[in-house]
């Protein structure tokens, strides 16, 4: 990310030959290989097996990956713990759903509006609550989510406590319900690709370096010329837009929306757990975390031994990770095997 202007300012920097520049640039993309391969494999897997049930479970995994990766932009790169991140998923979902169910919009513009609504909320909130640090910020995000849930619960245009349902006829425009289900899967895959690319390029950019600096020491970062308030706000907006879009897609597939599932605080915390499990602040981490968490959850829910106490088992595992592997899988591998650092971004 060295622009020509930078080197001319330094003056003493030697001119880089195009060959070196290319190899450096190629090096910069090495970290993208593994994440993209994983997403590509997940995308084609249902077609390979040809089973609808596989597609459904991969839908859940992919949704987790996309949400965790968005959250990671704020949580992992910037170090701000958004405990109520589900508010963007819920609000985006509600706005998009309202446009589809009541105003008769089609899915695409509804998704765009869902993302816009979430981004706008993050922008307005960011100006205010990102001033708070540490635990106070985490508490404020919980408060925002609870306030929003309670508000939507009373907001009659959005159906109040009953929520809204899509008329089954809507799916006919997309070639029937089965076809619509298949379509949502591929849209999700495309969005996940975009989220991963955004996550990667943010991490590699000057903007991303600024965020990492804020994470390490916000005051020092400001002294070094990072405009922290605006950088934080944009990180927040970026991490909110995708959950907003995904909310619309999820509830479109679901066919109905209600306040409680849309703003479930535990869902937020699950996102954090996935980010932690895989490794916060890395691109690959949330991907592995999403896959790992959902597979584990699926196993615990179906295993006869752990079925009844799956929550407690998950809690024990979370505790072990927090206490002993705080850097997550990717962070641990990076520390243990420095050779892998280029590949594992």
């Amino acid at each position: 990310m060295n622009s020509p202007q930078d080197s001319s300012v330094v003056g003493s920097a030697p001119k880089v030959s195009w060959r070196e520049a290319l190899s450096q640039n190629a090096g910069a993309y090495v970290g993208l290989i593994l994440p993209l391969i994983i997403i590509a494999l997940l995308t084609i897997w249902p077609t390979v097996t040809g089973k609808d049930i596989t597609r459904e479970s991969i839908f859940t995994i992919m949704l987790s990956i996309a949400l965790a990766s968005s959250l990671n932009i704020l949580l992992g790169y910037t170090g701000y713990v958004s405990f109520g991140h589900v508010v963007f998923f819920g609000l985006g979902g509600y706005v998009g759903f309202y446009l589809m169910a009541v105003q008769g919009w089609s899915l695409w513009p509804a998704m765009a509006m869902g993302g816009l609504a979430a981004g706008l909320l993050a922008f307005l909130l960011g100006k205010a609550i990102l001033r708070l640090r540490g635990g106070y910020f985490a508490l404020a995000t919980i408060g925002v989510n609870e306030a929003m849930r309670a508000f939507i619960n009373n907001f009659e245009p959005f159906g109040g406590p009953v929520g809204m349902t899509l008329n089954f006829q809507v799916y006919r425009d997309y070639g029937g319900a089965a076809q619509a289900l298949r379509m949502t899967f591929y849209i999700l895959a495309a969005i996940t690709f975009i989220v991963i690319l955004v996550s990667y390029f943010v991490r590699m950019s000057k903007f991303g370096l600024g965020l990492l600096a804020i994470r390490e020491d916000e005051d020092a970062a400001e002294v070094m010329g990072v405009v922290a308030p605006s950088a934080k706000t944009w990180a927040y907006v970026l991490s909110a837009i995708f959950p907003g879009i995904l909310g619309v897609l999820f509830f479109f597939k679901n066919g109905s929306i209600e306040p409680v599932p849309a703003f479930r605080l535990n869902f937020s915390i699950e996102m954090i757990v996935m980010v932690m499990l895989g490794g916060q602040g890395t691109v690959l981490g949330p991907i592995l975390g999403g896959i790992g968490y959902q597979s584990l959850r699926g196993y615990l829910l179906t295993s006869p031994l752990f079925k009844n106490i799956q929550l407690a088992v998950a809690g024990v595992l979370l505790l072990v990770i927090v206490l002993f592997v705080p850097a997550g899988v990717v962070g641990w591998l990076r520390n243990r095997f420095p050779v892998l650092r280029r590949i594992l971004q």
């Binding site: 635990g135 508490l139 408060g143 309670a150 932690m276 407690a312 809690g315 979370l318």
Partner: protein, 286 residues
């Protein structure tokens, strides 16, 4: 007008109990800067403690509270050493997640054992009439006990050696260590007292309302609001925060639908965090 009087009186009574519930959370925050996300499930355990002792041993609920308190204290100390001590100096995310993991464990085991069906402690002391307001005696007892426990906590923190140690550690842990305060033991004790207060509050609530193993979550969220109202880290301020919340909950439904209560509560919560993060009663910055 009479209706308003009843609502306010009712709200005040509840407010004391709410305050007690929040006190544990805010004490732990004040001493070690940890937001205890296992607070809610521990309140639930307090409820079930009283419920089990009352239903199966026929013990008076207020006697049962003594055992619940002891259990809460010990549980808190265990939780501290298992989950918190190792990450006490790590970034906030670690302690948040560690205490949340504890919450998952308690809730998971609790649901497996007790299921999520509602219970209640079928215990009544009749009711008294003040003006036109009729108030169950259990509610008055709960309010009085909450005030007594708060007073006890105040005396403990200000008059005893270990209480002073707790305040010293809250004020400046490294300085306290230099003065010879055994900080790890004091932190564990503070965490224990925090969970003890949560369990006590749960026990008192169980004599007022029906509950499930998940009911603590509601009171945990209320505790956040109260803690912020009274100033996080200021246990005595929590009592006043509780009163404010209780009265709000009493008054709001008299002029708008009761479902708007949480909207206003959490709106107020976010607003106060933004405008006066030290709380309405200005806790000292530690």
């Amino acid at each position: 007008m009479d209706f308003l009087f009843t609502s306010i009186l009712d709200g005040l009574m509840l407010g004391f109990v709410y305050g007690l519930a929040a006190m544990g959370l805010t004490l732990i925050w004040g001493v070690m800067n940890v937001i205890n996300l296992s607070h809610g499930p521990i309140i639930s355990l307090g409820m079930f403690g009283v419920y089990l002792l009352f239903t199966f041993l026929g013990m008076n609920p207020y006697i049962a509270l003594i055992f619940v308190a002891l259990f809460g204290l010990l549980l808190g100390i265990v939780i501290y050493f298992v989950a918190v001590n190792r990450v006490i100096d790590a970034p906030h995310l670690s302690t948040l997640l560690a205490t949340f993991a504890v919450a998952m464990i308690i809730t998971g085991l609790g649901t497996a054992v007790f299921t999520a069906s509602p219970r209640n402690v079928d215990y009544s002391l009749g009711s008294v009439t003040i003006g036109n307001a009729t108030i169950p005696v259990t509610r008055i007892v709960a309010a009085v006990l909450s005030v007594l426990i708060t007073a006890g906590l105040y005396l403990y923190l200000h008059r005893t050696r270990s209480g002073r140690y707790i305040r010293a550690v809250a004020n400046n842990r490294s300085a306290a260590e230099l003065m010879g305060v055994p900080s790890v033991r004091i932190l564990a004790l503070s965490f224990g007292i925090g969970t003890m207060l949560a369990a006590l509050a749960g026990g008192l609530i169980s004599t007022l309302f029906p509950f499930t193993i998940l009911a603590g979550g509601t009171y945990e969220l209320k505790s956040f609001v109260i803690g912020v109202l009274g100033g996080l880290g200021n246990p005595i301020g929590a009592l006043f925060g509780g009163l404010i919340l209780g009265v709000l909950e009493g008054i709001i439904p008299t002029f708008m639908p009761a479902t708007w209560v949480p909207v206003l509560e959490f709106g107020l919560f976010v607003l106060i965090l933004l405008v006066r993060p030290q709380g309405l009663f200005g806790a000292k910055k530690s």
